[in-house]
Amino acid sequence: MLRKFRAFTLSLIFASISTSVWAFDATVVAVSGKVEKKEGNSWIALNKGDKITQGTVISTGFESNLVFTAKGSTVTVGPLTRLTVEQLVSTPKKDSSQLYIDSGKVSAEVNSAGGKQTGFKVKSPVATASVRGTEFSVNSAGKLVVKKGLVSFTPAESDKPVIADDKDEEVAETNSNADETRADASVRVPKTTALTSAAEVGDDGGIPVAAGQQSQANGLTGVRSSPQKEKAAASSGTPNNTKAASALEAVSTVSAAAPARTQSTVESVSDRTTRGSLSITIKFEE
């Protein structure tokens, strides 16, 4: 009888451990300039060694920076940034972190800790970046630059921060159970290439932005440009201060995922040669 009771108790304990969800704290490792967190209606300074909990709102001033670690990931918060820590949750299989930036810029180097799967998401009013095992930066205006790994760049999930509650913890637990069959493969962060689908990092339907690529979300439409289009734009070097509105407002039928008008250098130079110009732009704004 006692053996049966002991076995039953142990099985209950093991069951609770395997399905348990708990919040964890992030730790401040470096502070420069004016960095504060909100407590109630007041702001108090953040210092090295301080703990950052789920729900913390952080603000950095001019020429100020904050670096904190969340499990195996390192987050750098740039100057003039307002950041909300929406979620810092762990399960036996996965560590999940979720940040929301109202303004400013955040860079992150995301790594797994303790051999667990890592989910890391940065949300803004314009777009959402979901990553796993990567290094990237994103700002509130929707500019994403990836240095290492793969980021799934999806439309904005909300226009304001949403702090995780118990319901979200249940969702995290559900997700961790669903990922159980892939747990072993995902502990070793898979090598990603330009051909790796955004679904590999958990968010199907997002634009895959690989290392060395970037994307920009449109604030009005939420449309995210393709890495191919961003590369072509970055290398075009053409200033548009003196371009007529008819050229800037031209409509294209190509998908946002396709490159902009494909024109060889020979054709584009020919266009410049025949057009001009000494241009004076006079603007009247009322």
Binding site: A210, P239, A245, A258, Q263, T265
Partner: protein, 396 residues
């Protein structure tokens, strides 16, 4: 009195966004020298002055829906120094209402109505203004757009349209010193596009149909007889993190009797050095090749820099190009193509080599200087041409 005052206040509030009108203007001057047959003895001048006026009016306060318009007045003088010809052109280059709206977090629609420029997916078949309406739906996994336009009210001095036989449309009213606006060939055009972004291995596949239907115009003019249809299938995507490609194949039919082919491919590399790019491209437009007939685009687009300004018909072109930003605010580009003539049955003859070079320096945010040079070395020297221009742009 109260009712009048309330109505006036409500009217003013509803139109409050209209008071954020943005008006701008551009005065531009272009001076270029052309050397026909690459000889200094055949030098001609290409001079033009253009006045451009823009106006943008937001309809919604957030700017998601707005009206924008533009008019242009141009004087051009061109030809040998001893015999310059002058012409004046006036045009309504832009007059459209443009808008975009999110449906939910994963989809949005864009629309435009009025006069605006539109390009097809190849930017070779159709790339010009028209009066029409455009609508686009975009979601995570599917994008679609639809466009209907009419060309009969355009200025033919700006919009050059080719007939189905490849001849340039010449309006029945033309010439004259003060002939500033001649109505263009009357066509109804439509563009229907379906796209599946990041379908497999992050590749995007796009299918597009362009149609041109000859219609009666306001002024009687010789019009085309054939309905033209162009069906295009395009693929684009990454090969590696910094290496991308795009490829398309277009089948043209006029009157459903014969077919012509246009094929384009481009491979672009973007090294992490000096914001540079290197691209290799190849283009084939069918001539009288076997079962194919000569390809004819709708908008007149020059395929080469030669004196004849050949359109995309019966040519094979392959080339390399590159660009870089070697120093802050300094942009350089260079490119070269080799051109083969395959218009006649069984022909594939070397036609010439072309090269282009451009340097642009942005002195301040509103001041830039540029040097552009293009040259075509034809197998037959009479078709060679070199053109050099120096540009300066000032925004106030």
């Amino acid at each position: 009195m109260k009712k009048i005052l309330t109505a006036a206040i409500l009217t003013a509030l509803s139109f409050s966004s209209l008071f954020a009108i943005e008006i701008s203007g551009i005065i531009s001057d272009s001076s270029g020298f052309k050397f026909d047959e690459n000889s200094f003895s055949n030098t001609s001048l290409s001079q033009s002055e253009t006045l451009v006026g823009d106006m943008k009016v937001p309809i919604l306060k957030n700017g998601s829906i707005y009206f924008i318009g533009e008019i242009t007045l141009t004087h051009a003088a061109s030809g040998p120094f001893s015999k310059l010809s002058n012409s004046f052109t006036a045009d309504i280059a832009l007059a459209k209402i443009n808008g975009s709206r999110k449906i939910n977090s994963a989809a949005n629609i864009n629309f435009a109505a009025g006069r605006f420029s539109l390009s097809d997916i190849t930017s070779t078949i159709y790339s010009q203004n028209a009066d029409g309406i455009f609508g686009q739906f975009a979601s995570k996994k599917f994008e679609s757009s639809l466009y209907f336009g009419y060309t009969g009210l355009l200025n033919s001095k700006i919009a050059s349209i080719l007939k189905s036989n490849g001849d340039l449309f010449i309006p029945s009213r033309s010439g004259g010193f003060l002939d500033v606006y001649n109505l263009a060939a009357p066509y109804a055009v439509s563009v229907t596009t379906f796209s599946l972004p990041y379908l497999f291995a992050n590749q995007t596949i796009t299918a597009e149909i362009f149609g041109a239907y000859p219609l009666p115009g306001i002024i009687d003019s010789a019009k085309d007889k054939d309905i033209r249809l162009y069906g295009t299938l395009a693929l684009n995507g990454p090969v590696m993190n910094n290496l991308f490609y795009s490829a398309s194949a277009t089948v043209e039919t006029a009157g459903f009797d014969d077919i012509a082919l246009l094929a384009k491919a481009n491979l672009s590399l973007f090294p992490d050095l000096l914001s540079s790019s290197v691209a290799a491209s190849v283009t084939y437009a069918s001539g009288n090749n076997g079962a194919l007939i000569p390809f004819t685009s709708f908008s007149k687009t020059s395929s080469t820099l030669c004196k004849q300004q050949l359109s995309y018909s019966g040519i094979f072109k392959a080339g390399l190009s590159g660009s870089a930003v070697p120093a802050e605010k300094l942009f350089c580009s260079i490119g070269t193509d080799i051109v083969f003539d395959c218009y006649m049955p069984g022909a594939f003859e070397y036609y010439g080599t072309q090269a282009a070079f451009a340097v642009n320096y942005q002195l301040f945010s509103d001041v830039s200087f540029g040097l552009n040079a293009t040259s075509f070395f034809a197998n037959d020297p009479q078709y060679s041409k070199t053109e050099v221009s120096v540009t300066a742009a000032i925004a106030l």
